[in-house]
């Protein structure tokens, strides 16, 4: 039974109310987000000749193959992480429009891009990939293993800006 004058009961009321309002408002707003962020589909083989928009997850080996073929890598982490170490020649810009501009200086929107963040548990790479998809980029590959897997494999990397 709820006793409104008991502090711990009041705290519970705040928790329940905020959950109800938070989830409820998310149901009706236009920019709603899923309660749990969905996982991205992984692919075994990559077809670069496809003209269909692509947004899939790739493994470490596939990421290295892209790297060896000179595909542009995008670092979706915050600046501090990036400066501490990132995949060699990876590009980073926290402002989406500037990042889009920077990419388009180097290649067209039809060319492949690899996006990564810290580790398989982070979601920034997927968030950025979806943003880029909305900006018109056609081939987006999310390297889920991210910086952790890449650096553990001792693949080419660099520090600083």
């Amino acid at each position: 039974m709820i006793e409104y004058n008991r502090p711990i009961h009041q705290a519970a009321i705040f928790l329940v109310l905020s959950s109800l309002i938070g989830f409820g408002s998310n149901l009706v707003r236009t920019d709603s987000i899923p309660w749990i962020a969905p996982k991205l589909e992984a692919v075994e083989s990559i077809d670069l000749s496809s003209t269909e928009p692509v947004l899939v997850a790739i493994s470490l080996d596939q990421a290295k193959e892209f790297f060896d073929n000179g595909v542009l890598f995008l670092d979706a982490r915050d600046e501090g992480y990036y400066e501490a170490g990132h995949i060699k020649d990876a590009m980073r810009n926290g402002f989406l429009m500037e990042l889009v501009f920077n990419i388009e200086e180097k290649q067209s929107k039809n060319d492949p891009l690899v996006v990564y963040c810290g580790d398989p548990g982070c979601g920034d790479s997927e968030d950025l990939a979806y943003d880029l998809k909305e900006s018109g980029f056609m081939q987006l590959y999310v390297f889920k293993g991210g910086w952790v897997e890449w650096s553990e494999a001792s693949y080419p990397s660099e520090v600083g800006q």
């Binding site: 409104y4 009041q10 705040f14 905020s18 309002i21 749990i36 600046e79 501090g80 979601g123």
Partner: protein, 150 residues
Amino acid sequence: MNKYFKGPIILICRILLGGIFIYASLDKIAHPAEFAKAIGNYHVLPFGLENLLALTLPWLELLAGVALITGVMIDGAAIMVIIMNIIFIFAISQALARGISIECGCFSVTTEGGDNIGLQTVIRDIGYLIMGFIVLYRRDNLFEFYPKSV
């Protein structure tokens, strides 16, 4: 519950904390996706779960802030403010301990580079934590409307 604090400091803490928490909630409520990203940057929750927190935490901040100012269920609001600040201090401290620089996501989640975490952020949150305890362990019940605490 033992009560220690009395006088105008109670009202000052309530208004300050309430105003700060209301202000902190607004940008997060308006931009849940950006707030989820900010939470993700701390790397303390498994991927996916930050969405749950991004949807509920700002409303908790807003409700607690409004309650502190309006004098409704102040004890519960103070408890939630204390719990939230302990979580914030832990999240920021573990990020600092790992030597990483990220945006706080404390007040604004839509501007970049304006509010990076640092020792000053931890000290600020410890200040809010102390204010929360002052409100919780108050002896005066000025401008409190519902319900009277036990």
